[in-house]
Amino acid sequence: MNNSSVYLWLRQKPRIAFFMCLPLILMVICLIIYPFIYSIFLSMLNKAETKFVGIGNYLFLFKRETFWLVVQQSIFFALVAVFFKALIGFIAAHSINTIPSKGQRKWRGMLLIPWVIPPALSTLGWWWLFEPTYSALNWFLVKISLPAIPWLSETFWARFSIILVNIWVGAPFFLIMYLAALKSIPQDLYEAASIDGANYRQKLYYITLPMMKNIISITILFSIIVTFANFDIVRVLTRGGPIDTTHLFATYAFRVGIESGDIPLGAAVSLFMFPILGILAFIILRNVRKRAMEV
């Protein structure tokens, strides 16, 4: 009957697969792809959203000194912050893995806390730590006879501060990912290497790192994308200042888009992130996919 043939048709592997994937596909299309395409369209309108100006907004951005400053700053911010997050995460994961398993739990718990406190709120705490009048950090520095640091009012320190807070918030994520990966490396490999006389460094380079390559790549990629698009931390700490020297794409887009009422221009700024990140993602993911195929 019709029923059973439909049923059989449904039971075929690709069909089931497709239906299982459907919620995901629907969500992505409705809530990510459609708005994305709409914002591309939006970025090609003039300020009053009455005329179509094609790439006019982008050309305009290219001529602005502030825009290129933002590009530079975003790339620098993302690369430096991710590097340190990965480094700290890796060292911490390795250290936790080295100590006896009974004690691991509490260290792991303590080190996870920065990631667990909602960043919007912990950044406020940091801001209070940096606040020019009441900074607890400066109080401490002055107590040990060092000069107070203008955490947020001078370009160098402002950049330092936003990177520092970003590292603080993000390192635990790297910690968890790396710890999980470390734990899945079979211990026998290490034992065999020790018997062969390998020292610590050799074990690290020849066993640990290669086995973790995938995880390292994916986590770094994910973090670069998310860090590049960071909004909360800069918004709360410096709002892009002083003199636009800590602006990232998202905060600059917010300034020219929302605050100045030129949404198309804001969309153009935000969209500019896409090609830069896309290239990066393509490179990294291609390597990962190759390895996944091998498995």
Binding site: P23, T133, A158, R239, I243, G261
Partner: protein, 449 residues
Amino acid sequence: MKKSNLHRRKFLKGLSATSGYAIAAPYVKTAHSAGRLLLGIWDHWIPGANDVLENILVSWGEKNGVEVKVDFITSIGNKLLLTAQAESRAKTGHDVFSMPTWYPSMFKHRLEPLDDVVEDIISKHGPLLESAKFYAYLEGHWRGSPAPTGSFFDAMVSRFDLFKEHAGIDLQTIFPANENRDANLINDWNWDTFLIAAEKLYKAGKPFGATIGATPDSRWLGALFTSYGAELVNKDGDITVNSDEVKQVLEYMSKLTQFMPKSIYAWDDSSNNRWLISGQGSAIFNPASAWAVAKRDNPKIAKKLWHHDFPRGPKGRYRPDNSQFWGLWDFAENKSAAKDLLRYIAEPHVVDACIKASQGYDIPLIISHFNKNNTWIEASPPDGVLYNYPMRGDEIPVAVGYPAPPGIASQITTQYVIANLTARVTSKGHSFEKAIKWAENELEGVMRG
């Protein structure tokens, strides 16, 4: 599919859980109500002020057969702006919405013209402040009606004890808490004498501080520029930043900033309050909130504060304007009720009640209204601290970016061009030419349609 089923159930659940004023619920017309009005109003930070306003609005509604509902929306995190953006894009939401400073200009294509309302108000109560007109009278139409709350104007807030001791200036005498001002003393209070005082205070370890950064508090620079006649863009829309007057102001700022703390470039809107309350500072530019918080956290300092006029510049005495309006979305359904309400809130007794509730923080836009209010006379300690908070003398409130056409002035404000221009010279050490060139580039960007 699974997900959308789940969602549909949740939508319906959500709709009933919320007050149901979303989407298609048209304004309920029952036998005894002439419709419904939804207001999205700026959340007043002074405790209790919101309740007073809400009571006024709801009782008006009851008397006139309109169901009035008010939502108070904060401006923290640009929430108010985001909500306005959301509503104007989605063409759904409230009917009447708070429109501070440049919002009428930003949303003018979505706001109902309110010429009839404002003209009625002016003919009944007298003129509005000129600066208010600058914000809301756009392309021949009023897009905002004066709000009963939320308009404030930064005054200078100083430690009169420090000024007396270190700078030899008696602020309480120059700006007494009564009508008897000495014209000569007032005249002497100009930017040059202020500079001398600033130096003395700095040397005494208690400098004056004011924000120079990408935050609304840096609007005092707009008043400074205007008082020197320095225009970034003139009223015809020509870029005039490369002028002697601008260079004069930059020259002045180069000197003044030497006597200010270096952290001002990173100050946000609350930093100057904290700095004054901590005792480190001798003067800031702020509305009455700094003193209000000092009363709570550091009463010793609060007793020594005094609000008074800005210094005078070669072209006049100006102070920053933060007018607030209420606008009517063009997609609102109950426009006639809304307009009646807008007329009602301009009544003196409404404005009076709101000023009292705000403890004097708000200053009304209708000139006749603040001339008769006692809140500022009665505030203390110290006695008379708020007397000169509203404009008593020859101060003229002015919007940042004045006299440029509103579309451009709004951009100058929201992109903090003046603050950035000043900071480039005073903090980065750029030459005037270099900084002015940067400003010209920025302004060209701002001019595009």
